[in-house]
Symmetry: C2
Subunit: 169 residues, 2 copies
């Protein structure tokens, strides 16, 4: 039970995109170069975010990705689910159905006490992630590290200038 690395990348990339906000799209190459990530694989994650309606993409020159949702309305859970697909689903259906006195017509996810306990834990996890919006994170970072937004913006400006070099990676 390990989270994909893509989740980490997606979270930080969404945060960076929320600071850009020039209405300007950022390419996979730029976003990957920021953290020195494999370009093509990050692109795969960005595709997933686009399918989920979190980012919007435009092909061709001057294309790239931009944030397509209000950070206030974008929770960490949205991002995690977009990348991971399904989340750890724990259900005892087959187990109890195959045991003595098992009944295939019963939904054991609802009756099994252990299954319910595991679901409560999973729910607590989801609730915690759903309670933090990207805007919350942004505010917290700005409070702790006031220079971060400006530094990030500046980096991406120079990156645009050096675009040709980045593309060679």
């Amino acid at each position: 039970m390990e989270l994909s690395k893509g989740v980490e990348w997606a979270l930080h990339t969404c945060l960076n995109l929320s600071w850009i906000e020039g209405g300007e799209a950022k390419t996979t190459a730029e976003l990957a170069a920021y953290y020195d990530l494999p370009q093509a694989y990050l692109n795969k994650q960005l595709q997933a975010l686009t399918r989920a309606g979190i980012l919007s993409s435009t092909p061709g020159p001057r294309g790239g990705f931009r944030l397509d949702r209000d950070p206030e309305q974008l929770s960490l859970l949205d991002i995690v689910v977009a990348i991971e697909g399904r989340v750890a689903a724990f259900a005892c259906e087959h187990l109890l159905a195959d045991g003595p006195g098992g009944d295939a017509s019963v939904d054991y996810a609802l009756t099994c006490v252990l299954s319910q306990a595991m679901s409560r834990a999973e729910l607590a996890w989801r609730r915690e992630l759903a309670s933090s919006s990207l805007a919350d994170i942004r505010r917290e970072v700005e409070a702790k590290y006031p220079q971060t937004p400006g530094a990030t913006r500046a980096w991406f400006l120079t990156a645009r200038a050096d675009g040709r070099r980045l593309a060679r990676r």
Copy 2:
């Protein structure tokens, strides 16, 4: 991000063992037959539980596994960790260290706001699992399905009688 099937098996098997309690050890074959599980693979999970000090094992004839800890002192988290090993650890260390202004000497797991948010969620999950002991689960099952403990005990008695047949599986 999917939990091992072994977690589910381990939870139910520990619950069953807590009902047996005759001081008598149950073999992998018996425990596996109860849910019609692959014997050798369940054995692997039981080994992990033994290494974690949750079960105790005795080899040879009349051997098997028995619960080696007070159900009051055994949380669901203990069992999950025993099977899964490590739990979903989310840390942004390498990511931020490789970014602009990254510093290899900084522990970003403590400074990164996103990492902290993810840790809070994981903590909520662990706390929820740690708050349920096996004894709690047992009490709840006995309240909802009073006949279950007796039925389980009875099944394992006949299984002992039919031991030879089970071993052929």
